[in-house]
Amino acid sequence: MTLASETTATLGAPTDALRKALTSQIRPSRPNPLTAVRVSAWRTMRKMKHYGVAVLFDVTLMPIIFLLTFTYLFGGAFAGSTKEYLQYFLPGVLVQTVVMPTVYTGTALNMDITRGIYDRFRTMPFWQPATIVGSLLGDIVRYVLALTTTMGVGLALGFRPDGGVGGVLAAMLLLLVFAVSVSWIFAALGMVAKAPETVSGSSMLVMFPLVFTSNIFVKPDTMPGWMETIVNANPVSNAATAVRGLVHGDASGSDIGWVLLACGVITLIFAPLTMYLYRAKSRS
């Protein structure tokens, strides 16, 4: 039982390095919320950097497969010619490109919780929402990468935006706002899920109806009336319509207004819900 005592007795004296580290009396005042958010976003981006090209692969593979199959398999049937379909479809794919990876926000948060990293954060005296907000904002890098790649492939296939560079940039900006808002839904899910796999698994239940009952793929005017109503009420449709308008240079203020309204509503519901669930962790 006392076997270890002889071997460690001499080593028990603190080394100089340990003494130096342990006698540090630096006690900075807590960081302001903005710094805490920035540092948390930095963390998310560092993680992405370590993942390397895998991140790009993850987020662009699906949209590109969709882009190719829908354009070349169904494009002629949907819109008369593949060229014409691409003009309609590409803005929709951009929406899909940013909406799908919002799930990662939820899985990443859940991983932090299940691995106990948030336990450490929660014993630290900084503005607590910072780590969550920062992680959402850090994911913007992911969306920008995905959007740029999908747009690049689209251009290579023959997509021509009538709205020019300005229109494309405005569309991307709107999509970033949209993606960050939608990611709050998965942040909330990430707070309650038992495991990261649960987040990605159950996300399909949300993602599929959201992406498919929309006007991303086809114009809703060929659908039965009830379906048309559903599709037109879907915020993803609003986003696709607004993005189409922006890249082709004929966006109406109301198209964009509806998207921003949807972003506001989603954020106002799910951001406080996420923070409520985060705080509730101290009760169970």
């Binding site: 130096k20 630096i26 169970s284």
Partner: protein, 326 residues
Amino acid sequence: MSSQSTLAIETSGLVKVFGETRAVDGVDLVIPQGVVYGVLGPNGAGKTTTIRMLSTLLTPDGGTARVLGHDVVREAEAVRSRVSLTGQFASVDEDLTAAENLTLLARLLGFSRAQAAERAEELLAAFDLTTAAGRQSKTFSGGMRRRLDIAASLVITPDLLFLDEPTTGLDPRSRNQVWDSVRAMVALGTTILLTTQYLDEADQLADRIAVIDHGRVIAEGTTGELKSSVGTGALHVRLVKAESRPAASQLLTRMLAAPVFLESDPFALSVRTDDSERIARALAELARSEIAVSDFAFGRPSLDEVFLALTGRPAEDTTANQEDAA
């Protein structure tokens, strides 16, 4: 800074209920500053839940707890600024490097960029991780990860450090390294509350120990006090064959006129007694009965026996073994 007269921890009737389970069921602790305090108990005894309440991660359902003079519920912020927690599972970001992990925490604690980098370097050196600074922590061995985890708790030198089962799952060498850091930290003035299910560990490190079982403190004192509360010394016998244990048990009970404990090791048994003459005769009798003994020892009771004496069952869940043997 804090006056030494303020207690590190003072709880009274602390309770936490999860559904039907009273995970912590009225824990009273009084822990002075400057010591290593051990909370000892088997899995599920309520150790982690207690620590999570004391470090403000969980809100108690009953009772009160003051940490360094601050109430853990009403003055949670004040508690958070003075304590640090190293959880049971290394809570470092596996995707980040060791240096990035420490820099991140330093920045979140308010260090400037330059201060954070310097502090990270200092801590890496202190925990022998300088050469691994640029590696993602998911590539680390269990011992390195644990060291990084402890270093991460020390970015701001805490007045009180909670270590939740700091050596569970570590190899002996890494375990000794963690023990050394614990000794060093307490020597430099940090109070440490550590939970463990290893009696050996509590024996090695802790100045005082609380034994917890089913959410309650069932004994408290120095290791010496706990051992002497169980009483006398004990004879430990290890047999060559596990099958001969029932016969050995019968013989020892008869010869020593004392109850025999079957230990979790199926080859081992122990008897609490002080009578060296009887012990000599009993050992001779074992030899005569051709019960081969591989090893025997006479000494003060181990904490294992303390636990057994306090709870009526071994610290580890060995009910199956005992039934087999009986």
